[in-house]
Amino acid sequence: MKLLEYLKDKLYEILIFLFTYIILLLLLFAFKSDISLITAFSIIILILFIILLLIDYFRKRNFYRELLNNIEALDKSYLVLETISNPNFYEGKLLVQALYDINKSASENIKNYELQTTDFKEFIEMWIHEVKVPIASLILMFYNHKDKFDKKIIEQIKKIENYVEQVLYYVRKDYASKDYLIKEVELNKIISNIALRNKDSFLENKVDLIVNNTSCLVLTDSKWLEFILNQIINNSLKYKRNIKNSYIKIEVSESNKQVILTIEDNGMGIPSSDLPKVFEKSFTGKNGRVKTKSTGMGLFIAKNLCNKLGHIINIESKENSYTKVSIIFSKNNYFEVLK
């Protein structure tokens, strides 16, 4: 609160005061009062007026200064009402009360949406667990009666499974707080799980899987990482080229500060114009349009999950040559100390 601005605001009071003062002065002159009485009277009334103004100014200034400073200092400025002391003047009290009411109504509104989204999220999670049961039944049925079913059926079931999983992790990525658990995980074990899961697709598509010394401990959530790797591998399998020795190569390199997991294929590759956009939501690019219909969600979710887990995911590629995705895990000394 600036004094000058405050005085401008008090213009009417000042004008009325001056007007009254001049009339009084004229009256005093008219009655031929003593000049020293007039001087004394003028000084007293001026000082009185200034004191009145200053008292008012300082009462308000303290309150508004605290309010404005705290708003600026807080990262969640809507909480400012909890941080200021109660004003001791009427206007201030009115203002605080009004702000409080506005805040309450907004909070109630937000809470409502929050409940709706958690509700929705819980429903989706429950639904996914339920839909997995018939998928599991279908896979078991297929296996038990292989002679009766076409092999194409299992491919379609696997597709459904993958899409369902994408939904699960799409929901999870925004409510990460309670869904993940970071601990030391053996990379080898995760890669082995992924390999087994996709074994049939590798063999069906005649893509070789090459895994080179991947034994290494990283700090991550194994289910999340499994999902991320599965998306990458699925992409590689989907966008393979029709050449003889298609492969996907998984490697790990380790340094003092970080572990880098790379997944490289010799597939279609990604045009350089598409490359910066592959992690964007619903981005399908040239390959996604040419090959099969693609949702463009896999890498988007993968990237989001990586961010949450604190891993860095990078992609490099050359069209008609290769695609190489690397995930960087940083090593954390803090965890070592805690152990």
Binding site: P134, A136, S137, N144, D179, L196, K206
Partner: protein, 220 residues
């Protein structure tokens, strides 16, 4: 024959699991009375339990906790709840393994086999007819001769040996190989098997491994 108790409330999964286990020469049993699950388990006294987390009346994790108070029956959690927390919780309550639905049936069977082996202190078969088998070293020998198998060949031969006189599909062999982190392709499997045959021919068992066309292989 090992008796495996299925605790699962979905009727179709139950019956399909039953078929799957029967075909793999286990004796499957199904728990019907979830209200008195603990008593039922006591009465049946199975060799292994496949336990779902979402079952009526009692949560699978709680049931596992109660089972563990007085018994060490191997338990594999089979569930659609796919989160690290559930897995860690289950293992800490004493589950021997944790598999999420939907699973590959071959993998389920491998895991069941592995858990049963572990708890029964299973001794690896070390003999085939008059041949001595050293799995760790990959050496098979009789009194006069010995042959050295590669890791892949040993995995294949062990699997055939454990299922002697039964037809083993290529898919089963493939799953076992991939499960042992040997990610080979179809051609490589064919090559490995013909090499294995050639080595057995050296030692006098030319016709030990036979092909059943369109189905798989059999060790006689």
């Amino acid at each position: 024959m090992e008796r495996i108790l299925i605790i699962e409330d979905d009727k179709i999964i139950c019956s399909e699991l039953k078929t799957l286990l029967k075909n793999s020469e286990y004796e499957p049993l199904i728990l019907n009375d979830f209200k008195n699950a603990l008593k039922e388990i006591d009465k049946i006294n199975p060799d292994l339990i496949l336990l779902d987390i979402n079952i009526p009346y009692i949560n699978g994790e709680l049931l596992l906790k109660q089972i563990r108070i007085k018994s060490n029956i191997p338990v594999i959690m089979v569930t659609s709840r796919d989160s690290e927390t559930d897995e860690v919780l289950s293992i800490s309550y004493g589950a021997d393994d944790y598999i999420t639905k939907p699973y590959n049936p071959n993998i389920l069977l491998l895991r069941i086999g592995a858990v049963l082996k572990r708890v029964n202190n299973y001794q690896e078969i070390t003999k085939y007819k008059d041949l001595k088998i050293n799995i760790q070293k990959g050496i098979i020998s009789n009194d006069e001769k010995e042959i050295i198998l590669t890791k892949n060949e040993m995995i294949i031969f062990s699997y055939l040996l454990n299922h002697q006189n039964k037809i083993v599909t290529r898919d089963e062999l493939m799953t076992d190989l991939w499960n042992n982190n040997e990610y080979i392709n179809d051609n490589a499997l064919t090559v490995n098997i013909s090499r294995l045959r050639a080595k057995f021919k050296e030692i006098g068992y030319e016709y030990a491994i036979q092909t059943r066309k369109g189905i798989g292989y059999i060790l006689v």
